[in-house]
C-alpha cells in the first residue's frame, strides 16, 4: 500500500461533481415509477421524504420519550440514572460495530438483488470519470435506503436522549463513528462485489456445463446465510445480545479492524486519549485502505465480463414435455418452462425461494432454541400450523405478485406473441401453485420431523395450506397483473408499491376468512378452561374449503380480465 497513492487518489483524482452525478443516477434509477399508460417515466420524491423524514421524526420522538422517561424514573429511583448512563455507554460502544454488521448485511443484500442488466452500469465507463469517483459514488449510493434510514433514526434519538443524561459529546462521537462504520461496511461490500464477479467468472469457466447449478446452489446458500445473519441481528434478543457482547468483547479483539471505531469510543470515554488517537488514525487508515483496494480492484476487474455459460452442446433435439400430457397447450407449456428457467437462472429472482422460508423459519427456530426445553403441546400445534401454512402461503403471495413484473422489458415478447389472456393466466397460475406446493412439501416434512404432530393435525394443516396456496396465488396474480412494474434497474421492481400493499391487505383478510372456522379451536387451546368447540373439525375444513374455492374462482376470473387489459393496452 502506497499511502501517497491513496492521498493522491482522494485529493487530486476526485471530481466531486462527478461523484454527486453518479450517486444521483443511481438514486434516480431506483426511484423511477412508471406512469399509468406506461409511455413515460415520472419521478416521485414523496417516498424518499416519507422514508428519511419519517426516520428523523421517529428518532426525535423516541429520543424525547426516552429522555422524559429517564427524568421521571430518576426522580423516583436514585439508582436509575447511574444504571441508565452505564447502559447508554454500553450502547455507544457497541453501536458502531452493530451498525457496521447491519449495514454490511443490508448493502450485500442490495448488491445481490440488483438486476444483471449490463446497460445500467456501463454508461459511466466510457465517460471521463475516474475509477476513484466511480468507486466512491458506488459506495455512497449503496448506503441509500435502510442503512442511511437507520443512521437518520439513530442520530437524533441518541443525541436528544443524551441531552437528558449529559452525554452529548459521547453521543455526537458515536454518531460520527456510526457514519464511518456504515461507510466501512459499504466499502467492504464494494470490494466483495468486484471480487465475486471475478471469482464467479473463474468458477463458471472451470465448472463448464455444471455452472448453472453451481450458480443456483451457490446463490441460494449465499442468500440463506445472509438472511439468517440479518434476522439474528435485527430480531428479538439477538441484536441486544450482540450489542452487549460487542461492548464487552471488543477490547479483547481490538486487533480486528472492524472494531477499531468502537475501540476509539471506548478509549476516549475511558480517558485513554493517546490510545483513542491511535485508534482514530487506525480507523481512518483502514477506511482509506478499503477505498484504495476497492478502487484498484474496480480499475482491474470493473469491466470484467464473466465467460458465457454453456448449457448444452451437440445436435438440438426438442423434448416433448410432461406439461402437454397434463392438459397444457404448447404455448402454455413453453411459458411455464421459460419461467422455470428464469427463476432458477436469474439471480435477482432466486430470492423468492429463500425469503418465505427464512422469514418464517428463522424466528421460529431461534425461539425454539432459546426455550431450551420441550415445546408444550398447544404451542407445538401452533408451530406446526405456522410451519405448514406460512411458507407456502408467503411463496404463493410473492410469486403471484412477481409473475408478470418479472418479465421486465422482455414483456414485448409476450405482447407480440399469440398468447391469449387465458393461456397467460393459466401458465402463470400453474407455476405459482406448483412451486408453492413444492415448498409446502419441504416445510411440511421439516415440521413433521421437528414437532411430531398427530396425523389429524398434519391432515388439517396440509389441507388448509393447499387452500391458502390456491387462493392467495390467484389474488396475488390478479394484483400482480394489475400493478405490474417492468422497471429493471437498479433491481427489478415487479409490482408497484401501492398495488403490492393492497394485495397484502387483501391476502391477509381472505386468509383470515379461510382460517376463521378454526378460530374456536385456536382459542380453546390457548385459553385454559374454555370449552371445546361444538363444531366438528372436519366441518371447519369443509367451510374453509368453500370460502377458498369461491374466492379462488373470483380472483382467477379477475386475473383473466386484468391480463386481457394488459395485453390490449400493451404500449411497451
Amino acid at each position: 500500500m502506497n499511502w501517497k497513492n491513496v492521498l493522491h487518489l482522494i485529493r487530486v483524482e476526485m471530481n466531486w461533481k462527478n461523484v454527486l452525478h453518479l450517486i444521483r443516477i443511481d438514486m434516480k434509477s431506483g426511484r423511477f415509477l412508471r406512469g399509468k399508460r406506461l409511455t413515460r417515466f415520472r419521478e416521485s420524491k414523496v417516498f424518499t421524504y416519507v422514508l428519511y423524514g419519517g426516520a428523523l421524526v421517529l428518532g426525535l420522538v423516541v429520543g424525547a420519550l426516552a429522555g422524559m422517561f429517564y427524568v421521571s424514573a430518576s426522580a423516583t429511583d436514585p439508582n436509575f440514572a447511574a444504571l441508565a448512563n452505564q447502559g447508554m455507554l454500553s450502547l455507544f460502544l457497541g453501536l458502531p460495530t452493530l451498525v457496521l454488521i447491519y449495514s454490511l448485511v443490508l448493502t450485500m443484500m442490495q448488491q445481490i438483488q440488483r438486476s444483471g442488466a449490463k446497460f445500467s452500469s456501463q454508461a459511466p465507463y466510457w465517460l471521463p470519470i475516474t475509477w476513484g469517483e466511480h468507486t466512491l459514488a458506488s459506495i455512497l449510493a449503496n448506503l441509500f435506503g435502510f442503512p442511511l434510514v437507520s443512521i437518520v433514526f439513530i442520530a437524533p434519538a441518541i443525541i436528544l436522549f443524551s441531552t437528558f443524561t449529559g452525554q452529548v459529546v459521547a453521543a455526537a462521537a458515536t454518531v460520527l463513528a456510526v457514519c464511518a462504520a456504515a461507510f466501512m461496511a459499504s466499502a467492504v461490500t464494494e470490494v466483495f462485489r468486484i471480487l465475486q464477479v471475478r471469482f464467479i467468472g473463474a468458477i463458471y469457466k472451470s465448472t463448464g456445463r455444471a455452472a448453472i447449478w453451481v450458480r443456483f446452489v451457490g446463490s441460494l446458500l449465499f442468500f440463506l446465510v445472509f438472511y439468517i445473519v440479518y434476522f439474528y441481528v435485527v430480531s428479538g434478543t439477538g441484536g441486544i445480545y450482540l450489542v452487549q457482547t460487542i461492548a464487552s468483547a471488543q477490547s479483547t479483539i481490538w486487533f480486528i479492524p472492524f472494531v477499531w471505531l468502537g475501540m476509539t469510543l471506548y478509549s476516549f470515554l475511558n480517558g485513554l486519549i493517546l490510545q483513542g488517537i491511535a485508534f482514530v488514525i487506525l480507523s481512518l487508515g483502514f477506511i482509506a485502505a478499503l477505498f484504495y483496494v476497492a478502487t484498484s480492484l474496480n480499475g482491474r476487474y470493473g469491466l470484467y465480463e464473466p465467460p458465457a455459460i454453456t448449457v448444452s452442446r451437440g445436435v438440438y433435439a426438442p423434448k416433448t414435455g410432461l406439461l402437454g400430457r397434463l392438459g397444457f397447450s404448447t404455448t402454455e407449456g413453453a411459458l411455464i418452462r421459460k419461467d422455470l428457467k428464469a427463476f432458477s437462472r436469474r439471480r435477482e429472482l432466486m430470492v423468492v425461494f429463500i425469503l418465505p422460508i427464512v422469514i418464517i423459519l428463522a424466528p421460529i427456530m431461534q425461539g425454539l432454541g432459546q426455550m431450551g426445553r420441550p415445546v408444550p403441546p398447544e404451542a407445538s400445534s401452533f408451530l406446526v400450523a405456522l410451519v405448514f401454512l406460512l411458507p407456502s402461503a408467503a411463496m404463493a403471495t410473492m410469486l403471484g405478485t412477481f409473475m408478470i413484473g418479472e418479465e421486465g422489458m422482455t414483456i414485448w415478447r409476450i405482447y407480440s406473441s399469440p398468447i391469449s389472456p387465458n393461456s397467460l393466466v393459466k401458465s402463470k397460475y400453474f407455476f405459482i401453485v406448483f412451486f408453492s406446493l413444492a415448498i409446502l412439501v419441504v416445510t411440511g416434512t421439516v415440521g413433521f420431523v421437528a414437532f411430531h404432530p398427530s396425523l389429524r393435525t398434519v391432515f388439517v394443516a396440509l389441507l388448509e395450506s393447499v387452500f391458502l396456496v390456491f387462493t392467495l396465488g390467484s389474488i396475488s396474480l390478479s394484483n400482480g397483473i394489475k400493478g405490474a412494474d417492468f422497471t429493471e434497474v437498479p433491481r427489478p421492481r415487479m409490482i408497484r408499491t401501492l398495488q403490492s400493499f393492497i394485495n397484502l391487505i387483501l391476502c391477509f383478510l381472505v386468509a383470515s376468512a379461510i382460517l376463521f372456522p378454526f378460530a374456536p379451536y385456536l382459542l380453546s387451546s390457548f385459553v385454559p378452561g374454555l370449552a371445546q368447540p361444538l363444531m366438528d373439525l372436519y366441518v371447519a375444513v369443509v367451510l374453509s374449503s368453500i370460502i377458498a374455492a369461491f374466492t379462488t374462482l373470483i380472483f382467477y376470473r379477475i386475473s383473466i380480465k386484468n391480463a386481457d387489459e394488459l395485453l390490449r393496452k400493451a404500449e411497451t
Partner: protein
C-alpha cells in the same frame, strides 16, 4: 375470425395517435399489397415504430381502423399475432435462456410441430452462423448475434407478414446479405414484408414501394420512380429524394454551424 381472402396485407385507415401533447400519428392512410416488400422511412420520432406496433395491437390508436391480413387488429389481436413475424427495434431477448432454448420457446408459442421446429432452427442457425454458440446463454451474445436470434424467431414459423423494425441493424455483411436475399425469396412465396430502416440504400435496393413519414404524417408513398417524380428529382438516389421531401435537405448551414 380469420379471413384468408385478402388483396391487401395491411390496411390502415385514418389512424390518429396522441401521446399527451405529441401527435405521433396524424390521419395516416396506408395500404400494403400482399407479397410486396414495403419500406417505411422517416427521421427519428416520425411515427414509424408506432405504426408498426399498432399493426400488432401493441399500441392502441385513438381513432381509425387497422386490418392485417383481413383481420381487424382491435377485434382479434391474437389471430393477427399468429400470422405475423415481428422484430422490434433493439429487441430485448430472454438473456437467461440459451439461443436454442429461446427459439424452442418461440416455436412452441407459435404451435410449431416438433420436427419442423427442429429442422428450421438448425437450418437458420447454420445459415446465420450461430452454430456452436446456440447452447450458450444469450447474455453472452453480441448485439449482432442477438439480432440474428430475433430475426430467426420472426422467420421460423413461416409468417404471412413480416414487420421488421431496423432488421439489419448490427448484422455482419454476410448475414445482412442473406437476410435481404431471403426476404426476396419470401416475396416470391407470397410473404409480405414491412420494414423500416435508416439505411436508404437498403430500402432502395430491396423495397418494391416506399412510404416516407414525417411528423406523424405519411408524406409520400410509391415506387422509386414515383417518388422521383414527386420530388421532381429524376435519376436521383433515395437519399436526395428523402431529404427533399422531408424538407431536411438543406444541411449545409447545419454542418457549417457545427464546424464553428
Amino acid at each position: 375470425m380469420m379471413a384468408t381472402d385478402y388483396s391487401s396485407a395491411v390496411e390502415i385507415k385514418r389512424i390518429v395517435k396522441r401521446y399527451g401533447e405529441i401527435l405521433a400519428l396524424d390521419n395516416v392512410d396506408l395500404s400494403i399489397r400482399s407479397g410486396e416488400i414495403f419500406g417505411l422511412l422517416g427521421p427519428n420520432g416520425s411515427g414509424k415504430s408506432t405504426t408498426m406496433k399498432m399493426l400488432l395491437g401493441l399500441v392502441q390508436p385513438d381513432s381509425g381502423t387497422l386490418s392485417v391480413l383481413g383481420i381487424d387488429v382491435k377485434k382479434d389481436p391474437v389471430a393477427v399475432k399468429r400470422l405475423v413475424g415481428y422484430v422490434p427495434e433493439s429487441p430485448r431477448l430472454y438473456e437467461f435462456l440459451t439461443g436454442i432454448e429461446y427459439l424452442d420457446f418461440i416455436g412452441d408459442v407459435y404451435g410449431m410441430q416438433t420436427e419442423a421446429k427442429k429442422a428450421r432452427i438448425n437450418e437458420y442457425l447454420k445459415a446465420l452462423e450461430l452454430e456452436g454458440r446456440e447452447g450458450d446463454m444469450i447474455s453472452s451474445y453480441s448485439e449482432g448475434m442477438k439480432q440474428k436470434v430475433a430475426l430467426i424467431s420472426a422467420f421460423m414459423y413461416k409468417p404471412k407478414l413480416l414487420i421488421l423494425d431496423e432488421p439489419l441493424s448490427g448484422l455482419d455483411p454476410r448475414s445482412a446479405r442473406i437476410v435481404k436475399d431471403f426476404l426476396h425469396e419470401l416475396k416470391a412465396q407470397g410473404v409480405t414484408t414491412m420494414m423500416s430502416t435508416h439505411v436508404l440504400e437498403i430500402a432502395q435496393a430491396i423495397c418494391d414501394r416506399i412510404g416516407i413519414m414525417y411528423h406523424g404524417k405519411l408524406l409520400a408513398l410509391g415506387t422509386m420512380d414515383e417518388l422521383r417524380e414527386m420530388a421532381k428529382l429524376p435519376d436521383s438516389a433515395l437519399e436526395d429524394i428523402f431529404l427533399k421531401l422531408t424538407g431536411t435537405g438543406d444541411i449545409r448551414p447545419v454542418v457549417e454551424e457545427l464546424l464553428k
